[in-house]
Subunit: 417 residues, 2 copies
Amino acid sequence: MKHRRLYRRITKFTDVWDAQRLLVEHLNPIKDYEVVPVFQAFGRVVYEPVVSPADLPPHNASHMDGYAVNSSLLQNASPSNPVKLRTVGVCYAGKKPEFKVGAGETARILTGAYLPEGCDAVVPQESVTLEGEYVVFTSPATPYQYVDMKGFDVSAGQTLFERGRVLKMADVALAAALGFEKLKVVRRPRVGIVAVGDELTDDFSEAKRGKVLNTHSHVVARLVETAGGEPLFLGIVPDNRAAFLQLLENQIQRLDILLSIAGSSVSEKDVSSILASENKLYVHGLTLQPGRVGGFTFYGDKPFIFLPGLIMSTLNVFMFLAYPVLRKMLHQEPRYYHHRVKAVLAEDITFRKYHDFVKVVWVRVVEDDEGLRCYPVLGESSGMSIPSRSDGFIIAPPGTSALKAGEKLWVNYPPTL
Amino acid sequence: MKHRRLYRRITKFTDVWDAQRLLVEHLNPIKDYEVVPVFQAFGRVVYEPVVSPADLPPHNASHMDGYAVNSSLLQNASPSNPVKLRTVGVCYAGKKPEFKVGAGETARILTGAYLPEGCDAVVPQESVTLEGEYVVFTSPATPYQYVDMKGFDVSAGQTLFERGRVLKMADVALAAALGFEKLKVVRRPRVGIVAVGDELTDDFSEAKRGKVLNTHSHVVARLVETAGGEPLFLGIVPDNRAAFLQLLENQIQRLDILLSIAGSSVSEKDVSSILASENKLYVHGLTLQPGRVGGFTFYGDKPFIFLPGLIMSTLNVFMFLAYPVLRKMLHQEPRYYHHRVKAVLAEDITFRKYHDFVKVVWVRVVEDDEGLRCYPVLGESSGMSIPSRSDGFIIAPPGTSALKAGEKLWVNYPPTL
């Protein structure tokens, strides 16, 4: 009796860390940049180190509303020995004082205004009384009291932002305050997203009649975007080799990365993995659970990563393969999480299968008095409510058969989902 | 000798928590809603509980590529006792199978496809061999193996999202999969932002000639936006009561909140606080450092919060007063942080002044093997590099004179800066 094997099978699951390394090694950071108006640069990635051209503040400035003084004049001031100084002008923020303050003199000064020549300290207005044009001081002042020193905030020549930094609005505000009208940022990697499957539709009425709504493309696009990429929806292709190949040939030139969703398994309909396997360099099968049937290949120098279709596998392969690629392209350390926190596992988890795999468990994170606790959000890997109910994921390395309640683990966060 | 006091002073610093309570108590959550296409609802706030109309999956579905079987037929299957079943059809995802599987029969089934009538389990294709139209099984199957059970993910009638939830893309994908084409979300609170001061400009060339660039409005607008509000730039008003009053009268009707930046101190030029103090209910002066000269009042039922002009005070008063207001308006628990993590303080901090105040120290958070450590980012409250170099802030309650390295503290995060 001779049995025929009709189906392809994954004979070797590539170590997911090896796969990540192989993929990341084969590609280069984006070399193109854009010059954008500074207040539109937030969320973008710094292309080359930004060095401050100036001190901030550029001059000694007042920290309070009050009076600018030469502190040596007030050395012996006390209630029984009040010192009276004559007001010779007012210093406003945003205007360099055009007068000097001499012996027997003071100047009205407002918060943020530069100290006038002849002064080294500020006395808050609450501490003085007024007599006509004279100000009465009844206590000594120390040099530089209530003065924001020139350059305390930023010194000229200081590196403000390294290459690869994601600019916060607070960063671009700082750059603007230092005179940068524009900033040089890395061009966003263009990430094509295609969903594969005869069963898929973008049309709600077709979905009501039994087809499957193409939801995952939106989730993946959101991850791409918050990771710093530019998602490009390439729509849906049927389970058809020729159709997929045509899309690929039409699109790959304008893309930096191609991501497919579904069609990555071992059936006769899985065109993503079938197409990839026709290339010399390809990985199909990862020691990642959920996510076993993910993989990648290259078209020229363009990575094509095929994400499995069950949502938890989609997300895991995105985080372990696509996310490090995006980071490397954006001049950042390639890694599989956006940020992470330690949290105490609230419940035991037992792993009965996939002993030699990296097991990924999505968790909900809650506060307690000691810090953070995390609860596994269990379910099948097709569970669309899992990412909705989760905040991040923990991982159990190969060989782990259980995680115990009370263990303190890293919870890895994706970029905003 | 009679001394004249020219200046207003803050005679009483209102407890910042009392101020927060007073402010929040006086206002109501937004009553208006918008109905938006589901995939545009991410980032928006749920208006009323969203209840699932259906089970997900709606039928038992295959978790693998393989064969749908009635498990009772394979009870005694083994290599020495192979069971052969005839393939009577193929089940694809997105199509309800229109055939039944009877005695002696099986069906080809792909991942995500609904199980045909007569079957209760799936055997992965890797475990079988084929003989023409027959499939050979050499091991038993347990009922429901590799089956994603109807409703395991979501049950009909289950509440998916409570009012006040900020929708993630994973949430809207789930809602879409359940048939929601649109979602009802809370109208964004309209937040007017005005910067106050003769010294301010939005023009880089004027800034180069000594004026101060209006950077803070952008930072505040970003916080408003990531907190869920709609920021409206109202520009710059000079230090002039009439000008501010006119802006206020022109704008307040269309706003839910008015935020002013600067002009909140006690000098003759501080029109924000001068105007506010003309109302019956107002707070000027908070037990918050930096942030002492912040405060608020109401125009009709519209809160007008005046943020001080030094950036760290701007941010702190935003987080302690404006952020809880936005949260309450968005049907969320009012609080002064977006989220928080515990971190070990890396360096001693000594507080020499403002003993009775809530002291806010912004910190940089870094990973170590044990979890997270935080480093104080010190500097004057005018330091624009501080929020750039910080991730979040810790607070020291009134009476604290020092925080010691090694203490484990909550680090509070603002919404994305």
